[in-house]
Symmetry: none
Subunit: 413 residues, 2 copies
Amino acid sequence: MKAVIISIGDELLIGQVINTNSAFIATHLNGAGVEIARVITVGDDLPAILDVLRTSVGHYDAVIITGGLGPTHDDITRTAMCRFFNTELVPSDEAKESVAKFLRQRNFPWSDSATNQTLIPRGARIIPNEFGTAPGELFERGGTSVIVMPGVPYEMESMITGFVVPYFAARSAGTYIIHRTLKTTGIAESALAQKLDPVQEIIGGHKLAFLPSPYGVRLRISVVSADHEAGIAAAADIEQKIRRRAGEFIYGTGDDELEEVLGRLLAEQKLTIAAAESCTGGLIMDRLTNVPGSSAYTERGVVAYSNASKTELLGVDPALITSFGAVSEEVARAMAEGIRSRSGVDIGLGVTGIAGPTGGTAEKPVGTVWIACSDSSGTAARRYAFGTGRRRVKQRASQAALEMVRRRLTGLG
Amino acid sequence: MKAVIISIGDELLIGQVINTNSAFIATHLNGAGVEIARVITVGDDLPAILDVLRTSVGHYDAVIITGGLGPTHDDITRTAMCRFFNTELVPSDEAKESVAKFLRQRNFPWSDSATNQTLIPRGARIIPNEFGTAPGELFERGGTSVIVMPGVPYEMESMITGFVVPYFAARSAGTYIIHRTLKTTGIAESALAQKLDPVQEIIGGHKLAFLPSPYGVRLRISVVSADHEAGIAAAADIEQKIRRRAGEFIYGTGDDELEEVLGRLLAEQKLTIAAAESCTGGLIMDRLTNVPGSSAYTERGVVAYSNASKTELLGVDPALITSFGAVSEEVARAMAEGIRSRSGVDIGLGVTGIAGPTGGTAEKPVGTVWIACSDSSGTAARRYAFGTGRRRVKQRASQAALEMVRRRLTGLG
């Protein structure tokens, strides 16, 4: 099946918002056997929307539209759909129910704009919106399935996974595009490429992409196959070959986040964790507590930015700070041991470093971070150089700290 | 002047790479008086490329193409340009010089693929590539300027700023596109729309867009003007009219983040802040410490997830938790007052709630959050309903907590 994505919104045309929606849609529809032939972005402009509908509906199996479904004057996608399909807006009980449910959850009162959101083009099916008032719409016309969704990413994403993917998966039996993503951390892209060289021996006629981010390099295996089982097997074979050469750096697959993987390990091993954070400023605890059910293993954490707070909250000896500096192996160890003994958790993390942009010296430049991990077997510490960029330093340091615990819990040391 | 951006590359259609190039191009061309009418993404596919060229060249003032200029077998953009303009590749001395200069700088040897990169469609002007071997191309045909650049972001970006922007600025003298963004929080999109109704009275013939996110609604004013000063003045006038009706909800403009705005207020007023976080799990402290220089006003913070930690780290009376529950006005107040008195800061925040997906009850459903703010003038607390979605609840709660402090420091209460 071939599809066109139409992204609607002036904000996309002036470069204020980067179009991340189309990448999300493409990834998920590929998994349902739908290939994206084209992505077209237009403004909140009726003639332009009608023009791209004319060149798409009837020419492709699917047209996926996002944006312009909200309640304000610049949201004209519903109007465009009515005009294009020569129909009109009519009240929908199903839409009313979906909007009412959302407003109840948020304690928002019913308003004129809510009533407006219950009007749907006649003949469209409703795609419920779990996270907003604008319902999605499905039209099946002339061999094309037309899906209309809001542009707000989380509203759109829940419609894609909850409705759109199952809908197309049921229709696309015959060709399969299989993607498998392996998430690595703690190894540079070039070092990883060297470990996997020559890559043709691993992938044969298939595809492997290296996708770097502050949290590590994702490896994306892509296999196109007429047979679903054979495609899955080919991807699994490539995965095994990669794991034999670089397995220790792979912490997860697909959308796994390191904090989720670590959370599962902690829950399985019935261990608790607490972080004493200086330069990461709360990001490690924030990530740990993003995971549903994390209260089973996280119970507290401390952001100890100042020297005084390191002493008062964690019992770090002021003499250590004076002798070695706040960014030092000794202080990182004392922070990890301090949070562990004071909170009674199994694993204590201590992180101290220079996030920048100021505060660096020749000996300890911006990006220098000491991370220590303490448990009943002892305390280990390591120095890292995370480069520049305040937020990136925080992200890399949080990832390295979580990875240090993962390696310890999986016996990688 | 109106333009179309054509992004070429299979990686964009499978969602492996997010199209950030078109946002960069749009932002910079807007500044040169060029309005983007459409962004079209196609694969490395000759018929598809020829098809979009046919619908673009001659229909717009400018066509900006990126991708598929490299030396490998799947780079077919030059071939497509020759086919479309009915011409052929010829050796170019200017291209040869540009490629040789780049290779010398990087100490790379000359190669067959370098020779290949010196072949340019007859009649095209060269756009030098400072950071790679593939030169850009400029065609001027039938009233349309066609620019072809590599897809590698930093190669493309240096061509845009060094060549393309000056090129169009010289041609578009007389038209200016002015954007101004106001960032609001604490008010729903529909309520904001109601405050600004009827919007035509505010914007006249100009544009106003509502862009919602978990952190609030951005309002974007867009003015097109033949006179730069008059355009700036029109945007400022619209901003003033919006501020008169909804000014209290506007915390910043442009790319301002609330934590930056709040950081400036805290630094100016020489105040310090600390957060005692339960459901936000460190996100408030993480956001505060994302701001360079934040160590001037943040010194510590506490993540108090468990009841025991609320008592041990913040001195919350266990009887309060037993009587009112951990998610209650009383406990939020005690957390805010506890962190303030124990750490000696000027402003203490206490946040306790149910991020979900479990833990909700009929009386306190998922998304219920109590936020308290304590300073020398007393403690205020408020109950919020942030809906579902664990991460979004955390984001909204962190934003509401920071906003509570901003309102206090600016006298909005």
